[in-house]
Symmetry: D2
Subunit: 345 residues, 4 copies
Amino acid sequence: MIKAGIIGVTGYTGSELLRLLLNHPQVIIHKVASRSNAGQPVSLVHKHLLGQTDLVECDIDARNFTDCDVVFLAVPHGASSALAKELVAAGVKVIDLGADMRLRDIAVYQKWYQAEHAWPEILPQTVYGLPELYREEIVKSILIANPGCYPTSAILGLAPLLKAGMVQTDSIVIDSKSGVTGAGKTLTPQSHFPDMNDNLAAYKIGAHRHTPEIEQELSALAGEPVLVTFNPHLIPMNRGILSTITVKAKGTLSQKVLDDCYQEFYRHEYFIRLRNQDNLPNTKWVQGSNYCDIAPVWDERTGRIIVVSVIDNLVKGASGQAVQNMNLMLGVEETSGLKYNVIYP
Amino acid sequence: MIKAGIIGVTGYTGSELLRLLLNHPQVIIHKVASRSNAGQPVSLVHKHLLGQTDLVECDIDARNFTDCDVVFLAVPHGASSALAKELVAAGVKVIDLGADMRLRDIAVYQKWYQAEHAWPEILPQTVYGLPELYREEIVKSILIANPGCYPTSAILGLAPLLKAGMVQTDSIVIDSKSGVTGAGKTLTPQSHFPDMNDNLAAYKIGAHRHTPEIEQELSALAGEPVLVTFNPHLIPMNRGILSTITVKAKGTLSQKVLDDCYQEFYRHEYFIRLRNQDNLPNTKWVQGSNYCDIAPVWDERTGRIIVVSVIDNLVKGASGQAVQNMNLMLGVEETSGLKYNVIYP
Amino acid sequence: MIKAGIIGVTGYTGSELLRLLLNHPQVIIHKVASRSNAGQPVSLVHKHLLGQTDLVECDIDARNFTDCDVVFLAVPHGASSALAKELVAAGVKVIDLGADMRLRDIAVYQKWYQAEHAWPEILPQTVYGLPELYREEIVKSILIANPGCYPTSAILGLAPLLKAGMVQTDSIVIDSKSGVTGAGKTLTPQSHFPDMNDNLAAYKIGAHRHTPEIEQELSALAGEPVLVTFNPHLIPMNRGILSTITVKAKGTLSQKVLDDCYQEFYRHEYFIRLRNQDNLPNTKWVQGSNYCDIAPVWDERTGRIIVVSVIDNLVKGASGQAVQNMNLMLGVEETSGLKYNVIYP
Amino acid sequence: MIKAGIIGVTGYTGSELLRLLLNHPQVIIHKVASRSNAGQPVSLVHKHLLGQTDLVECDIDARNFTDCDVVFLAVPHGASSALAKELVAAGVKVIDLGADMRLRDIAVYQKWYQAEHAWPEILPQTVYGLPELYREEIVKSILIANPGCYPTSAILGLAPLLKAGMVQTDSIVIDSKSGVTGAGKTLTPQSHFPDMNDNLAAYKIGAHRHTPEIEQELSALAGEPVLVTFNPHLIPMNRGILSTITVKAKGTLSQKVLDDCYQEFYRHEYFIRLRNQDNLPNTKWVQGSNYCDIAPVWDERTGRIIVVSVIDNLVKGASGQAVQNMNLMLGVEETSGLKYNVIYP
């Protein structure tokens, strides 16, 4: 059995890691910790887990986790670098669900996060944990930067087009809609129930920190620098991201060419499900699961391709993808613990 | 592997059986059928299941299911009796999720359902599939009447008190609040999104068909006839029932006596979790799971006991309980396939 | 024009007073204040009011409000007594939306609120501002204790029965469900969107501070001491309270007798709308309005009466009722500014 | 008093017309009709209106409405042309809330609606009832084509830019999110509560019938043919549309230039409220009101302008705009009956 640790178990991604790992046939959760609840039973912190685990939280100290095979870091950005450094030094495999390891260019990190980085020299070597693009590197890695939720939906939605060179790379507009768990567990006026319920808002238009992460990966796919307009929104629902991506084609296409491109690109991917105009993805259809559902649509009138890409932000957008990465890093079947967990409605 | 069949797979309880059985380590879903979708792949009917199953629906004909070990009936009331009769005759174990087999007194059935019964002579022999009360009978049974959702929450909430003879049996008031999946998949004005969202309604006050089912089981527990006032409500959420049960104690109690009574009664029950006044159950804490969370509260001022009892109406209130019954009937560990499926939030 | 002031304008009831008074043909809002936003334009604090008002908040100091005809106090309990005392001394009429003036017995206040009272000698003289019961007193009063939201729904639902002596007064069970604005604007884990959305919870079972207020008024109606069991719940919606009240009849009644009792009692009341079993009230049907919709149902089987009573907690349960009281106190038509404001859906 | 009639009063826009007109100081609702409820009191059809109106529905026959000053048509597309023709002939002013009169080019109508038109010769003469663009024509008109909900948000969001010639007209991408009332009162699987709650879906990507309406008006503003990509979505909320519009600037701009452009264009418009990046509009801030809140944002990095435009789809997107048009046509103050009706939260 794999001995797993979770540092930062109080938030929604921490809680989701618990759900997935408790149900994982090859894993035992060995240690958990959070800043605020050291010494507390996990089932008091996460009341829905009463009866499912006797785990008690320990202090956030890397030394408590050196006997784990793998440690998941689900801590605020800025807090994971030091922990990762210490754990990697002790030979523990690390999957960081935060943003610290995702941007390979330290200058880009500093510009968007306005912060120093505790371990800049590691950045060129970290692996971006999107298995559909970097499976081989993940298998060999000991330190994974788990992708952000928005970037996962956007990059998977665009990868086939950019790889095939079918689109004008300066025409990409990504309009993303996220459930409120994406904004985290910290209490804010925007996520107070009466103010968010039956409401809808755009935020950080053209200015969200996931933008450079999306651009880094799209540029790698395109083989040239790509800038995007990324517009995020909060939706009155708990889980799910739907990204509507609009892009200008190079010349004229057809729906057939488009469908073939996506089917070919994703033909071996268990967690990618292709849909179409008559069957546009609903966020609810992936709820609780590690799927990314994608529908590419050809718009003859305007020469644009519109791609609708849907994930559960806490699963494929965070903890599920982290478990998928763990499976790859530790030599377990990639879908283990992740197969039958769509819950509908 | 157990070969399971599902008749009536289109509705929410049918879909939930698919979710639970696809993930069950000792079960293979052998056949499925529904009235409206014969010949269709299940993943077209339930779009969230794309990629999870290749099952194609067959006709609703008992003869198609005689090679199953167990068949779940998730059909409207009135439709299951004939199917059950034919399947039982063929030696197939049957779990009926509908109402046809639940009332042991045919006159009570006819009064509340205003219908003839296709197999009245079986009623005195059917087993009411509430494992916490009837485990031994379930193990030996070939035909289970799976309890209704409201009755499950109400009966489990009251059983310890009635068994102990601690309450005045003519004082029981059950106020139940249900998510909208409880009203089924049939389109109605009440469950049209704009009319139900951000809204709340009582319905069938003192007149809901689950009333006689609750009274039958409470009478059995009390050893005397019990009538209850049962008031159901629809809540703008998908899953979950919360029943607030108010009852007059015989004489004076204390919170300690009350807690001891419940802890003793449920001490061996995996799916019952006891909570308390400082920790009153939320429906979300059992979402997706087979738990029933119960908090009994002593109200010194009025001499009343208030019990808050919470389930997921589609799991412990329907399909999960059906799988629990199947596990018992077919000699599998009772919690198999049902252990780690709370999803929060 | 009536010159009105609002102290405590930041919360939901303050905001709702603004909505109603801006639209009131005989009122001008003269002054507003809150603890946290002195010096700020109201339309910055309440962003939905941009373009509707140029009001700027002043300090919370009674002396700023002595040139008003009437002042609404929408401040936390404990904070209104001193303000009310000063304003009344200056000849200003006061409507207190908080709890400080509602309980006529200081001992009861101290027991339930665990606090000293800044102006106990006024308690026997305050008028409980429920116009359907105390209209004549309100007309002559200069200080109104505006009822709580739960008590409004419960007392209006029960008043005809208690006045008529038709029920056993020791049998009253009140099960109330409230939208989340009822819990106020203060950020709490329970009202964080992802934790409350698609969820349902009971809270303060048998222990809510509105209990003594309900009992005080029911006792006055019955002419004898009445204790009730009051069970409040939070519902994933913004506005609305639905109270389901169950009570044992004295002897046998009929639906006809029951309907006559309510129609007679409320025959002159504009804001009371009677409904019935076939037409049970929805909270959405009173959204934004000052209505209280009531349906009394006779349950022959158990000899109980079940009353469903519905209000918008921010209107008839708070700010609308306060405006109704103002209209009465200041000699304006009682329904002025309150007639056509149901918004559906 | 203006004598108003409503044909098609059963749906959400009909109900919203009732709310606004009952509260309008210069209007009396003279006649109402719908296909399905002739002979029924309106307060039975719309239960929230109990006590607010004694109106009884008459048959849908234009002759019943010839004694009205103005008639609102809120009927399905295809049904209003014949009614409008008859009413106009009788000298009655008509405001059509449906799509029949909006497209001036009959060929475009036939292509997108796949239907014959009952009164094609009127199309070149109808006035598109967007007062911010066509006020002078509306004042003189007797037949108004009331704009669609999506077009209202999109056109108002883009008008200043197109009029000023600041953008590349082939670069417009409109991503719109609508509450579920926008899909109407007809029961559908997509708007069944459990399937829509906590869910989000794109639909008719690049193929929605509001596209040609948007293009017609944007072309008129730009003085050249404009094609747009229009992507609509359904959001789990009742009311509100938020359109996120992305467009490439001609050359380099600044936030200041952009703000000036919008402030100048809308400086006399009561119902347009300008906001900004730090204060992006929420749909809830316009709930129940006739406002359109707009925030234009300059994205230096990509040379794009992003405009967020928000309305209540049932008010500024339908019935409120219709009342605004009526006010203009009948010489009443434009804001009459429409000023103070934001309801929050």
